[in-house]
Amino acid sequence: MRFLLLSLLTWSVALAGLSKHIASYDIQATLNHKTHTITGNETLTWVNDSPDTVSTLQFHLYMNAFRNTKSTFFTESGGQLRGDQFKGDEWGWIEVKKMRLASGADVTKAIRFIHPDDNNAEDRTVIEVALPQAVKPGETIQVAIDFETKMPMVFARTGFRKDFYLVGQWFPKIGVWETAGFRYSTQGAWNCHQFHANSEFFANFGRYDVQLTVPSEMVIGATGEQTKRVENVSNKTTTYGFHQEDVTDFAWTVQPNYIRVERMFEAAKETTAKEIAYEAKLGGVPEEDVRLSDVKMIVLMQPEHAEQIERTFHATRAALKHFGLWYGRYPYKTITVVDPPYGAGGAGGMEYPTFITAGTSWKLPPGSRGLEEVTVHEFGHQFWMQLVATNEFEESPMDEGLNTYSTTLIMDKVYGGIGQLPITLFGMNVWDWLHLPGISDLSLDRAAFLMSPADDDLLRKSWQYYDSQSYGVNSYMRMGVTLDTLERIVGHDTMARLMRTYHTRYRFRHPTARDFAKVASEVSGQNLDWFFNQFFFGNRLLDYRIGEVTSEQRRTPMGRFEKGGTFQITTRKDARKADDANDENKAFRKEYLGTVKIQRHGDAVAPVEIVIRFKDGSVEKRQWDGEYRWVKYTFVRSSEIESVDIDPAKKYRLDVSFANNSWVSKYQVEVSTHWSANVLFWLQNLMLILTSVA
């Protein structure tokens, strides 16, 4: 009977919302602004939904990454992340003061620090607790934890600066129990990695009920919906309540001078019937599944960026609309966009459930779309990381890369790309003035990918990439370009279906790259193993190039020939004479032997189309499997070869050189002259400046 009741309880907990609530938290926390500490207690409700008996629990104590210079995070990062440097002595840490089970057992003394990734005994970002009684399959355990968190000076996602706080990774958070067959697991074990410089997070879904007490002058924003606001007049604090189901984390921010603006995303007004019908048809789903829901958008902006509030809302609306239409409606009621202040840029460009941080600069020119880019990208993580909750420690390209691909689509569609770089001279927009072309996200992604096209495997544990640049290029741009290539191979419509299918199938779940590959082959109806094995799970460099192109006029053959049973010899002199006569004869139809050699420079093998155009307008197309290192085509034509193009549709964005994919017989004199004139001009200007100063 007890077992039955427990099972029912587990069932009801697990299926309370849209996701399986494996790890739910009730937290009460108070911010002490003077000491920059948060004193809190949490009650974790954890459901063992595996068939395993679990005798220990593992928790992340992420904030201990900022405890000292010996932590794994610090040794890997050298105290800087994304260009932001840790300065001063405001370290961050978290201490578990007490840990008790619902049974009353105090397990505080059973806590020990573990270092599953690098055996760094100085790292204190993961703890393990041996339970007095194992958690059986289907059972639920409740753990009450008292903790104190000291916020560090903000430089890597979380922390404070003056009276600004961005509070993320701040409470003891349970790891993910992976039973055999779950993701890549072969046996039941905790997936609870240390906090690395180049890694983000992984957690189960659950419910978060959080009560935050902060100084009353603070303006607050947090994950989820606000449920409560009580002023504590005696100590000039205010307690806010927030509630959110079906999420994997909880973050919040406070600052007294935030400008807080709310707007509604009204789904009916934002989308047209035509758009709904189109997406439904494209996805092969009922229109009802495509329709979006209303969302309250909250923007917390710095006063000096007030003029950019509408831009932020515009980008958030664009993201809500397109992510929703393409992959499925945003299921939460709120989205909060935070603009961190000057000096706290390290907190910007980060994603948490229903809560994102963007970032901008003072007087950002309208043509520079950095604000829109970061807003759309961070919002995109609601879909790739939060709803489809891949393991960011182990497969960062599966959230950052998919999100880069999606962001690029939206940015290029809505804004025409990132546009201008924000280069100003005393407030004047230099980019505009020099008439430089806007930059599309697609070309920017490819440009960044080319900086490190195959130095690392695309998919690696995030701390195992060669360096932070390799982590960045592989996690973001290389995966973006890989997916763009995949889209060009399977076609736009198929890719749209593929992404939607992958998203909806794994919404509120924890898929892997292998799951994505399976969905891709299933939806496209093609065997895409060759693609995934080389470009997803392998590390092949793709580079086709035109080796040699010649067109030689066929001349009179020389030597001994059999004709009508007798042998005749055409001498060199005879042949020359015949050739001269032919050259003078305007009616003579010349013949050319055209030769085209295509080389495969990279180690990636991919079927490729080759188009050969002749000067008489005729066209030859060839399909090459790319298996051997090169291929040669010969043609006998009445005309010379005019141009050769490998992959003329530019399907393979992964090809590291477009320049060598094309050959034209005509020397590009216009382009060379234009380029040369420009280079000369800029160097002359430089010389004149040097002459002026010397």
């Binding site: 320049a659 234009h674 380029w675 040369s676 420009n678 000369l680 430089l686 002459t691 002026s692």
Partner: protein, 309 residues
Amino acid sequence: MTITQAISNAARRANGRKRMIVLYWFTQMMVAALAALPLLGIAVPMLAHSGWAPELLKQFDVTFITEAMQARPGVGGAAFSAYPLIIFLTMTSGVFLAGGAVKLMVQDATVYSPREFWSGCGEYFWRFFRLMLYSLLLYAIANALAGSVKKVADKMWGDGLESAPMVMAGWVSNALLILLCGLVSTAMDYAKVRLVRDESRKSLRACLGSIWLVLRNPRVMGAWLILAVFWVLFTMLYQPVANNIPAVKMPLILVLALWQQLYILARVWLRFVSWGTAAELDPELRPAPLPPEEFVPVLSTGATEDYAI
């Protein structure tokens, strides 16, 4: 003499030496062409026969730059590492050409001839070269002074959560840097004029004397400011026209190239006017050296002739 009169006289001097300006411009272009070779050596062979050329060479396309670096890492690296040397060589060639230019701008009566120009280049090269080395130190000091403004602002602002004051401090710092560079540049013009006019070989003395002269006579910076305004005006005229030349066909590309060279020629002319202005103002600002004492013969006792002193 007012500043505008000095500039106007200098412009007349420059206009009277058109052939020299053209020679200067041509030589400068040749040196620039030499310096451009490493860049062109990467881009042109890669793209001269590629159908992608128009797309990839669109202005300074970011994709092309990384593609070129990926395709030819060795060549690209070599080209970039060659650039400090190229900058040094272009600076040196600028110093060399300045010798001839300043000589002919300073000497009123000299009739221009290529021979005079080149002889001036050779004659004053080492003096001007030493001057350039001293000026580098002065620019470093200017940079440090301007940078300190930003540092002070940064320190004063502390943990401030707004960027606007720091951005404005950056503007002030940049403006100060430009002004100080203008001051050093102006002083170096006067130093060159002094070296030529005095037929002196003492570059350090000329450098320090000219800095002192510019500091004592801040109105010479007015001349620098007026010439800077001219430069801005020329640029504002050049850029919109250049932006609107659709340089895709050869005739229009040549029009653009011609327009670019006209702009360069205008800048060369401004450089000459700048030297000319220094030549005009220098005698007025710098006290003329005392005339040598006249010889007074000592008369023997009993002389009968009178000498008027």
